[in-house]
């Protein structure tokens, strides 16, 4: 991605070390104005660390955070105009919904009338007007999340950070809230960073995905780029469910084949035996035993399965990896 323009949020060689542990290793990332980038990865990969560095809550061990070309590194968290929605929402439990929104404006010395106007507008936007006098303990999980979002947007921040904002909600609600969240967050001027460990959420929310593991950026790009053209074995196996099949067909090379790219046929190259079938309605997942171990195959739900099927695939779908390093081998 080009970083020449200077607009938006730019992380340059950002590092964070605690004692001997390297939590984040030279991260380079650019988020354009109005763009939503999802930081995706397993627990402890450095996603939340990155957010805390951008917010200024933890000191960086190296590197820079630039906003519209301006270095934020020397500024404290209160002076960066960063809004963050925390995983726990971090609502002040002793204040009402309106009180939660008001505190930040109040300490900045904003006039009462102006405060009220802004709070009312934000509460309306998020349809929270009726809850304004409730305490956080009296709200449902989804409502708390909306209040946390309202508190973040109220201050008209220059950067919006979201740290697993949906992980405390149940699956159905998560899916329902995604379009609303996108409508509220994306397409404004601010760059948005959205941290999640859920790839569905990342795909649903973000324009681009940055995949992290063990403090290192593995790949950044659109969901389609990461899925069809993974930079390494980790990216290939982290994205996509059911997971990619990894076959040690020949020494020195490992073959990756997505379950939907394997086909049952009469004259396939590989003989297999059906172990189990999971019927999902729109698809079915077959577990097959072959000479390279157990394989996952996705087919249409009504596909008939012979007892002794053979498998085939197209060459263009082959992904080759180095068995030791996991690096992608381009053939």
């Amino acid at each position: 991605m080009s970083t020449a323009s200077g607009a938006g949020l730019e992380l340059r060689q950002l590092c964070r070390e605690v004692g001997e542990r390297r939590l984040l290793d030279r991260l380079d990332l650019h988020v354009a104005p109005g763009e939503c980038v999802a930081l995706l990865g397993p627990s402890g990969c450095g996603k939340s660390t990155t957010l805390r560095l951008v917010a200024g809550l933890d000191p960086a061990s190296g590197g820079q955070v630039l906003l519209d070309g301006e270095d934020l590194s020397e500024r404290g968290p209160g002076e960066r105009q960063v809004a963050m929605v925390f995983q726990s929402y971090a609502l002040y439990p002793h204040l009402s919904v309106a009180g939660n929104l008001e505190l930040g404006l109040q300490v900045r010395g904003m006039a009462v009338r102006e405060r009220q106007r802004r709070i009312d507008a934000t509460l309306d936007l998020l349809q929270l007007g009726e809850l304004r006098h409730r305490r956080p303990a009296q709200l449902s999980g989804g409502q708390r999340q909306r209040v946390a979002l309202a508190r973040a947007l109220l201050r008209q921040p220059r950067i919006v950070l979201l740290d697993e904002p949906m992980s405390n909600l149940d699956a159905q609600l998560r899916e329902d809230l995604r379009p609303e969240l996108r409508r509220l967050l994306c397409g404004r001027e601010q760059p948005v960073i959205y941290v999640t460990h859920d790839q569905q959420e990342a795909v649903g929310m973000a324009d681009r995905i940055a995949l992290l593991e063990a403090g290192r950026l593995q790949q950044v790009g659109s969901p389609r780029e990461l899925y069809t053209n993974p930079a390494n074995r980790f990216v290939a196996s982290f994205l996509g469910r059911p997971a990619i099949n990894l076959l040690s067909i020949e020494p020195g090379r490992q073959l990756g084949l997505r379950p939907e790219h394997l086909h049952l046929s009469e004259d396939g190259a590989v003989a297999a035996r059906l172990l189990r079938r999971e019927w999902w309605g729109h698809q079915q997942l077959l577990w097959l035993d072959s000479q390279w171990g157990t394989l996952r195959v996705l087919t249409a739900p009504e596909t008939a399965t012979p007892q002794e099927p053979r498998l085939s695939w197209q060459r263009q779908h082959e992904l080759w990896f180095d068995p030791q390093s996991g690096a992608r081998l381009l053939h």
Binding site: L57, G76, G78, A90, H94, L103, G104, V107, R144, R155
Partner: protein, 264 residues
């Protein structure tokens, strides 16, 4: 079972109350005639010179000064300690526990010497200085534990909203520490209210005595009779303010203010 526990804890108090309301003769043997109940004991105690409420006032003043000073010092200590990582926190915590367990008896001579050379004797406000010093370790430990229970993201959120340290304490942390502050305050106040030895050595003027010393002096008048009734009356009067205090603070101690801060 519950009744037994209740009796165990309330029994002595009620017995004291009964004693304070009986005529001295009725304490020794059942009276054959006349009403055994009387308020004379209270009258005796309250009409002394200086009157008994004077001692109550003295103790309350020392207690309030001690509590205020202790909390004022303990809150920043606890916050600083909580923000420190690893070995330092552990070391200081250990030192605080050691200080909290140090036998006070060993401090008397030194304290007396200090009172003499700095002219701290016979002053209720300076009496709260050693009391504060003695209460501080426990108060810091209690408040630090309460701070540790608050979710760290709350303070992070406040920092992002531009609240500086003073504002975070004032608007976010202290309100949430309310119950812990109340229970710490009561413990500190109680310790000061009950303290005997230091008050005995630091205060000699009659009108400045604190409650425990004053009560101990009630019996001093005669070798032949022990004024049980007056003792009991003084004790009852001395415990009433504590009772009121605990009843008032009970609500804030019990209410779990932090509920709903994080996912409930």
């Amino acid at each position: 079972m519950r009744l037994l526990v209740l009796l165990w804890s309330l029994g002595p108090l009620l017995w004291q109350l009964r004693t304070s309301l009986l005529r001295p003769e009725a304490l020794v043997a059942p009276l054959l005639e006349g009403n055994p109940w009387t308020l004379a004991n209270y009258q005796l105690v309250l009409s002394g010179d200086p009157p008994f409420w004077r001692y109550l006032g003295n103790s309350a003043l020392v207690g309030l000064a001690t509590t205020l000073l202790t909390l004022l010092l303990a809150v920043p200590c606890a916050y600083g300690l909580q923000k420190q990582g690893g070995p330092l926190r552990w070391g200081v915590g250990l030192a605080l526990v050691a200080a909290a367990m140090f036998p006070t008896v060993l401090l008397f001579l030194a304290l007396l010497e200090m009172a003499r050379s700095f002219g701290l004797a016979n002053n209720l406000l300076t009496l709260s200085l050693p009391y504060t010093a003695l209460s501080l370790p426990l108060a810091v430990l209690l408040l630090r534990a309460a701070l540790a229970d608050l979710p760290g993201e709350l303070e992070d959120a406040a920092r992002l909203e531009g609240l500086h340290l003073g504002q975070r304490l004032r608007f976010v942390l202290l309100p949430l520490l309310g119950p812990a502050l109340a229970s710490t305050a009561i413990l500190v106040f109680l310790a000061s209210w009950n303290e005997y030895a230091i008050a005995l050595t630091w205060i000699s003027r009659d009108d400045l005595l604190t409650l425990p010393i004053a009560i101990a002096r009630i019996g001093g008048g005669s070798v032949f009779t022990i004024p049980y009734g007056a003792f009991a009356a003084a004790t009852v009067l001395g415990s009433l303010p504590l009772l009121v205090l605990v009843l008032l603070a009970q609500r804030s101690i019990v209410s779990g203010l932090t509920r709903g801060a994080v996912k409930g």
